[in-house]
């Protein structure tokens, strides 16, 4: 018997999508395989490692623990949505590169999305706070030291960008919105 599918509307990185998915399809699989957004990674499929973390209406969630049908009508931001408007590295991603905060890069999307949400509410964390902020994500390569540094560096970059923006926070938010509005190359291809 063929599996029944359900229509789901969701906005991913600013782009609206309509999908028809089986009830049991995981959000992570929909993002990766239905929409081709492979920046989201699956490390454990039981919600512990955090590699699959995406932002759902701005808040970090584990996309391996959510059924796609349960996020109908919501907004999702993935690793691709954390890029700069020109498709290059976004502020948090740039900080990870500058601080050698990634090695194999598999866990990195979960860290970048988590840190993006964290810095929105905590723009100037201490090293201790930065370590706490990433406390729910596993990395097997880096020993976390350079990820902690990346969080602080990302905060620095974001604060500098906010200062450069003439209308302060509003402008910075516009820029981030702009980044989301521009589809990632792979999203276009899918």
């Amino acid at each position: 018997m063929a599996e029944a599918t359900h229509p789901v509307e969701l906005t991913v990185n600013g782009i609206p999508h309509t999908l028809a998915v089986p009830a049991r399809r995981l959000l992570a699989d929909s993002l990766r395989h239905d929409l081709g957004l492979t920046g989201t990674h699956l490390g454990c499929e039981h919600g512990v490692c955090g590699a699959c973390t995406v932002l759902l209406d701005g808040e970090p969630v584990r996309s391996c623990l959510l059924f796609t049908v349960t996020v109908d009508g919501q907004e999702v931001t993935t690793m691709e949505g954390c890029r700069a408007a020109d498709g290059g590295l976004g502020p948090v991603q740039r900080a990870f590169r500058e601080c050698h905060g990634l090695q194999c890069g598999f866990c990195t999307p979960g860290f970048v999305t988590t840190v993006t949400a964290y810095l929105r509410d905590n723009p100037d964390p201490t090293a201790e706070e930065a370590r706490e902020a990433i406390g729910g994500n596993l990395c097997r390569c880096t020993g976390y030291q350079n990820i902690v540094a990346s969080v602080q560096r990302a905060a620095e970059i974001l604060r500098a960008e906010a200062r450069r923006a003439p209308r302060g926070d509003d402008r910075a938010r516009d820029e981030r919105g702009g980044a989301e509005a521009k589809p990632a190359p792979r999203a276009e291809a899918s």
């Binding site: 050698h100 890069g105 598999f106």
Partner: protein, 824 residues
């Protein structure tokens, strides 16, 4: 293929400028940090999905398999059992590293042939439209099992009341003895002797990305392309060609971005690699399998389980006169990777020390558990744990400072090269090339303020806190052979394209190898593009393991780039009408020395054009290489001894391994009530020769230390007596989060290796190696009784405290005295 012998040349010129040695940001991060990497499951979205029915029993006979239920699943494409396998696919998987001491090697079949020998062994393969449906089908297969007695744990294996393999009744796969001098006699004659029993439990590599395979059979072209998340694409290619009976030229293996390896992905061909490729060929469809986390726990590989009994003889000054080590190594149900891990344990146990005499004997034992193959450190953490526990124990026995005892037994820098008189894992003599071990130790002690710790201890004690300090030293053989190669080409755009056979799992090879090529060719790093692990680009190679990539492929890239440089200069000399000795190559162009900015010069890109004499121009630049473009010449367009193209292949094959070394020192605090263990300081001094990119080196150390901390305090594979792995999830197998890994302080020494032209040594595993040893040393110091088993959890420490209070665990000698003579 010709391989130049390793020339013990003077190390390459020390440069103060140039990309070699610079902490430049990684090239690969432009892709990986953008979420634009291509890992195994990021490709082949249209492929059929494979899933496996795996044994729920540790040891059982398969009486019958009923697949009829699976046939009802919509989207099912195929179901395979052992009976369906044909040709060499139906044979056992290869024994990768045969050894004369491995007298009873047994390897698994790709799908169980009548008997399963560990929980997780694949029994049935299902192929369906997607993974959800494939797992539905797996759930509907019914197997009639006849459970057999399981052998779990080293004591049970050695006791051999039951056998894992019916034709190996004593469960012994291998037995090996190595001796240097007469250790039993030396111990017998020694003024002091001591016995220790030391144990390390199982852990695992546990990369965040599991294994995975994607296979495409092109029936029209009669060719197979396999993508695998492996540490060796070149060897997978040969293995698959052999298994599938295909000409090797019709098989290509590509390693995409890999989400960590740490050793587990060097094993090959995995059952799934063979079966996915076989099914793709059989079905004429693209087939993919991506390992899930539970599968990784129960069907990939573990490491570390060893039980050591040690006898040591020493004199009143703490010199070791004789050391006799016997150990049991748990190799799991099969032994495809041979006995590399226990061989490394036996040999690297010696560390930076010279002993009067040494005897080591091990038995490698079959158990009904997941196979054991190298995990970062690969036998070294166990060996170092044993030796460093011995050092602490005899220092305590004699009332000497623990660091001083180490120093007294150390090989001095004036004794290099030092021959330990044993045979190492590469079949070559265990000869240390360079290093200043006492200086490494001295720096670690200075960093942690070893001599000032008594005051710290007293202050803590006054506050009711318990702190302890520990130290451990190690030597690591890195860059084992047999060889690696590299191809370097300068494109007509001026870009430099580098390819090497070995693979990458996050070590930054795209950057480090680019730095080497850029240095040699005088071009900016940004102009160098590096490909690893793609047999379409480079067919020969060995793999990424044993901290060997920088040493092996690094030197091969340097060799190839050196040839390209020489060729570019020859062509430029002719084009500029200059003498070779007058030419300078820098910033992507070759100029004649002494003429200043307006002098004669030619861009490397133009040299690349001229290097390939053309009949047909394909663009503006190419016109310069056509037959009517230049001055007439009498000689052949491609001079004798030259080849077209500005490119070359280089090889590096060392006479033996190069040895890195290091020392770690830590301070821990143990909670007097809960027995929680907290690391207050973690200090690392290491020496990996010349560094290509210090930022990457430190990143490797950080990651290694984190895994060392995990192995010492948190990670263990817990099997019940029936062979069920009780903690096969990230919920229950405790890998360190950021909250468990301390801030790591690092100091570098750089003793160049004379064995390779770049003077480099490996760094991949170093950070992990002394982890168990140094943390045991510090916890023991804090608690005042001996720690002889790792990892140690708070509940185990709590239990040891109770037994200590009850008089069952004796105190350290130094704890029973007033004052602590140990800290000097």
């Amino acid at each position: 293929m010709t391989i130049a012998p390793a020339r013990p040349a003077a190390p390459a010129q020390e440069t103060t400028s140039g990309p070699f040695g610079a902490s430049i940001p990684r090239r690969e991060d432009l892709r990986l940090a953008a979420g634009d990497g291509r890992y195994l499951d990021d490709i082949g979205h249209q492929a059929l999905a494979a899933a496996f029915l795996r044994s729920p029993h540790a040891h059982a006979r398969v009486r019958d398999i009923d697949v009829s239920g699976a046939l009802e699943v919509d989207g099912l494409v195929a179901v395979y059992t052992y009976e369906d396998l044909d040709g060499r696919v139906a044979e056992p998987l290869p024994l990768l590293i045969p050894h004369p001491s491995l007298h009873a090697p047994r390897t698994a079949y790709p799908l169980a042939n009548g008997i399963v020998r560990h929980v997780g062994e694949p029994v049935v393969m299902v192929v369906a439209r997607d993974r959800y449906l494939a797992e539905d089908a797996v759930d509907r297969v019914i197997v009639d099992w006849e459970p057999l007695p399981a052998v779990v744990g080293l004591p049970a294996a050695f006791e051999a009341r039951h056998a894992v393999h019916a034709d190996v009744p004593d469960n012994v796969a291998a037995h090996m003895v190595q001796t240097v001098g007469d250790a039993p006699a030396a111990i017998g004659a020694a003024p002091y002797t001591m016995d220790l029993t030391l144990e390390i439990e199982r852990s695992a590599s546990m990369p965040l990305e599991g294994k995975g395979v994607l296979a495409r059979w092109d029936a029209d072209d009669r060719s197979l392309r396999v993508y695998s998340s492996t540490q060796t694409s070149t060897s997978v290619r040969f293995a698959l060609a052999a298994k599938l009976d295909l000409p090797v030229d019709r098989v290509e293996v590509v390693t995409p971005d890999v989400g960590g390896g740490f050793g587990v992905k060097i094993v090959h061909p995995w059952p799934e690699e063979v079966l996915v490729a076989w099914a793709a060929l059989r079905l004429g469809r693209e087939v993919k399998w991506v390992e899930d986390r539970r599968e990784h726990f129960i069907s990939s590989a573990h490491e570390r389980g060893q039980l050591h009994t040690v006898k040591v003889g020493f004199d009143a000054d703490g010199h070791i006169l004789g050391l006799d080590v016997r150990f049991l190594h748990d190799n799991g149900a099969y032994i495809p990777y041979g006995i590399i891990v226990p061989i490394i344990s036996s040999t690297q146990l010696l560390g930076p020390y010279k002993l009067g005499a040494y005897r080591v004997e091990f038995h490698s034992m079959y158990t009904n558990t997941v196979i054991v193959t190298p995990y970062r450190g690969a036998g070294r953490p166990h060996g170092v744990f044993v030796m460093e526990r011995v050092m602490d124990a005899l220092a305590d026995r004699l009332g000497l400072d623990r660091a001083e005892v180490r120093r007294r037994n150390m090989i001095g820098p004036d004794e290099m090269p030092y021959d330990q008189g044993m045979i190492f894992q590469d079949g070559r003599p265990l000869i240390y090339d360079t290093g200043d071990f006492p200086e490494t130790l001295r720096r670690a002690l200075a960093m942690v303020d070893w001599s000032g710790f008594q005051a710290v201890r007293d202050a803590a004690r006054a506050e009711g806190r318990r702190v302890g300090i520990g130290v451990a030293a190690y030597v690591e053989g890195t860059g084992v052979g047999p060889y690696e190669g590299a191809h370097v080409r300068v494109d007509t755009t001026g870009d430099v394209v580098v390819a090497t056979g070995l693979t990458t799992q996050g070590q930054g090879h795209e950057t480090a190898f680019a730095q080497i090529a850029a240095q040699e060719l005088g071009v900016p790093v940004e102009r160098v593009k590096v490909t690893t692990g793609d047999t379409r680009r480079f067919k020969y190679g060995v793999g990424t393991f044993a901290s060997r990539a920088a040493v092996m492929s690094g030197n091969a890239v340097a060799a190839a780039a050196g040839k390209v440089r020489a060729k570019a200069l020859r062509i430029a000399a002719q084009a500029l009408g200059a003498d070779l000795t007058e030419l300078v190559l820098s910033d992507g162009e070759i100029a004649v020395r002494g003429f200043g900015p307006d002098g004669p010069r030619i861009a490397l890109a133009t040299v690349a054009v001229l290097a390939n004499p053309l009949r047909y121009a394909f663009d503006e630049e190419a016109k310069r290489a056509t037959q009517f473009a230049g001055p007439p010449s009498d000689g052949p367009p491609v001079p004798e001894g030259e080849e077209p193209g500005l490119e070359a292949t280089g090889w590096y094959s060392p006479i033996r391994t190069t040895f890195a070394n290091g020392a770690h020192a830590v301070i821990v605090e143990t909670d007097p009530e809960t027995a929680e263990i907290r690391i207050l300081r973690y200090c690392v001094v290491h020496d990996c020769g010349r560094m290509i990119n210090p930022m990457i080196v430190e990143g490797q150390v950080h990651g290694g230390v984190a895994q060392g901390v995990g192995g010492a305090l948190y990670e263990r594979m817990v099997y019940d007596p029936d062979g069920q792995l009780l903690n096969a999830s990230f919920m229950d197998f405790l890998m360190p989060y950021a909250s468990e890994v301390p801030h790591i302080e690092i100091d570098h020494l750089a003793s160049p290796s004379p064995l390779n032209p770049l003077g480099v040594k490996g760094i991949g595993e170093a950070g992990l190696i002394p982890g168990h040893a140094v943390i045991a040393s510090a916890v023991e110091d804090a608690e005042g009784f001996r720690i002889d088993r790792m990892p140690i959890s708070p509940s185990e420490l709590f239990d040891l405290r109770r037994r200590h209070a009850a008089g069952e665990v004796p105190p350290l000698h130094r704890s029973s005295k007033e004052g602590r003579e140990d800290i000097g």
